[in-house]
């Protein structure tokens, strides 16, 4: 529809078919079908416990699927994840950890060199470039404990970039930062999206809806049409999350009949 080339000549980068996954044989997500194309910028929303993180962990190969298929760039997850840059939620870090910005970003290179091989000059150049991309040049010799929340988010994005990824996955990239910082992070992501496919998850629908190219909603099942509209079936599926949306209004919402849109 609307000339955006929905059905497409673009390359498929992630294909997930009939995927079930969870913990202790207890599925958290069910029958997920999800196709990501090169250049996509997808925001996945959904209530807490709805399976957003689980889906991300399946794509990263941390949680194995119970059923179904997942291929990334035509390969298995373990082979392909070297080409995925990942930014976890920043709340998971120990702020007293003795490490500097430069060293954190260089961790993005750790899998590119084998065991027992030191980092090379080429690694250093890539690290420098990644730091430059997120505009942290001046602070690269600071300790991470001396940074603000937004600066730390940038460092973790740089670490993901240092792996030279084709796909960038972000888990709540703006969870603990204020509106201005969040805005600047989305501007950075929009720029990065020119070179790579981006998927991010967030429980904050209003923040992501203005920045991503398409939105999916996950609450055990995924509803994703490759479009930016939040559709009634998403509202139904994720009854918790869109309550805010309706209350505050959303500039891009278009509710329409869409039975013929199922991908």
């Amino acid at each position: 529809m609307n000339g955006k080339g929905l059905i497409t000549d673009r390359t498929e980068v992630i294909r997930i078919e009939h995927l079930w996954a969870g913990y202790d044989h207890d599925p958290v997500i069910e029958d997920i079908n999800f196709i990501v194309n090169q250049g996509d910028f997808i925001g996945l929303i959904g209530p807490n416990g709805g399976g957003k993180s689980t889906l991300l962990k399946v794509i990263l190969g941390i949680v194995p699927p119970l059923r179904g298929q997942i291929t990334i760039l035509g390969k298995s997850v373990k082979e392909a994840r070297q080409q995925i840059g990942y930014m976890p939620q920043s709340v998971e870090y120990d702020l007293d950890f003795p490490v500097k910005v430069w060293d954190v970003v260089r961790m993005g290179r750790v899998g590119k060199r084998g065991l027992l091989r030191p980092y090379t000059r080429q690694d250093d150049e890539i690290v420098e470039e990644a730091i430059h991309q997120v505009d942290m040049d001046d602070l690269c010799h600071k300790s991470i404990s001396d940074l603000s929340g937004g600066q730390r988010q940038r460092v973790y994005i740089a670490r993901a970039l240092a792996a030279r990824p084709d796909i960038l996955l972000l888990d709540e990239p703006t969870a603990s930062v204020d509106v201005q910082v969040s805005q600047s992070i989305y501007e950075l992501l929009a720029k990065l999206n020119e070179q790579m496919t981006i998927i991010l998850i967030s429980h904050d629908m209003t923040a992501i809806s203005t920045h991503v190219k398409s939105i999916g909603c996950i609450n055990r099942r995924l509803i994703y049409h490759g479009e930016k509209q939040v559709t009634p079936d998403m509202l139904e599926a994720a009854y918790q999350c869109p309550v805010d949306l309706i209350a505050h209004g959303l500039p891009h919402r278009v509710y329409r009949y869409h039975a013929d849109e199922e991908v």
Binding site: E92, D94, D96, P98, V99, D146, L147, R154
Partner: protein, 281 residues
């Protein structure tokens, strides 16, 4: 004063004790830094105490108790690591159980051993004053092995300690590395507890690294500073225990603990006067 210091050096047992203190400090500074940043002080305590079970079994069945202790501490290290990483059981509960059961096994087997009875206290607080020269070479070897392993896997160990999930998806073999780290802790603890006692091992694994973490912002520097602090504490403690006629292990721990409290206070005063500078993004 100077004469007092020279007096100390005329005794071979004091020279050996000082050398042992220096060698222990290197192993503890390096391994202790990993223990502190990975927040596994309690696991290390569990490993150390459950090793006592191996000592008891060694005496009872008449083989070298150190071998028993190494086997026991490795087994407990790996099982705690397994529980922590692969199951949903509560790790601290399992550590508490193994800690207590290991010690109880040791005591029961030593009770049942005819003849020579080892003193539990000597394993708890050690006897750094009775270190034989041969053991010093063994400790030097242990230091060399630890240095070599840490140098070889430094970048992977750093990435794992900072963010294990990230390291895993970069295909770093984090499980193998984590068990290697636990294994190094187990062997270090056993080798050193013969010499300085397991309480002192835990103190030297934790306190110098914790002080160091307050002042430096780089893991390598943290290890170096922690090693030097350990050397300072053991040396100072030994001299004090000699002059004041106190138990050496306990004196070293009290010296370390005093510096830890002073350092924490100083650090608190400095950071509360100059709060963490954060530049706006």
């Amino acid at each position: 004063m100077l004469q007092g210091i020279l007096d100390v050096f005329q005794f071979e047992f004091m020279r050996n004790a000082l050398a042992a203190g220096l060698l222990v400090s290197v192993a503890c500074g390096i391994i202790g830094s990993y223990v502190v940043v990975n927040r596994i002080v309690f696991i290390s305590g569990g490993i150390a105490h459950s090793a006592y079970g191996g000592i008891g079994i060694g005496y009872y069945f008449g083989f070298n108790p150190v071998i028993g202790a190494i086997l026991f501490s490795l087994a407990s290290a790996f099982s705690m690591g397994f529980v922590q990483r692969k199951t949903r059981l509560r790790t601290d509960t399992i550590i508490g159980v193994m800690w207590a059961v290991g010690m109880a096994i040791g005591i029961v087997f030593i009770d049942k051993t005819a003849g020579y009875k080892v003193d539990l206290m000597s394993y708890l607080f050690g006897s750094i004053l009775t270190v034989p020269a041969g053991t010093l070479w063994l400790m030097l070897l242990l230091d060399a092995i630890i240095l070599a392993l840490v140098a070889a896997f430094y970048k992977e160990l750093l990435a794992m300690s900072f963010d294990e999930t990230f390291a895993r998806i970069r295909n770093v073999p984090v499980d193998a590395l984590y068990y290697m780290l636990l294994g190094m802790i187990a062997v270090t603890v056993v080798m050193l507890m013969r010499v300085v006692g397991l309480i002192l091992v835990i103190a030297l694994l934790t306190i110098p690294a914790a002080i160091s973490n307050q002042w430096v912002k780089n893991l390598k520097s943290m290890m170096v500073l922690a090693s030097f602090l350990g050397m300072l504490f053991t040396t100072l403690g030994l001299f004090l225990s000699y002059w004041l006629n106190l138990t050496s292990g306990a004196t070293i721990i009290l010296v370390s603990g005093t510096v830890y409290i002073l350092s924490a206070l100083l650090h608190y005063l400095i950071t509360s006067r100059h709060p963490r500078q954060t530049v706006p993004a």
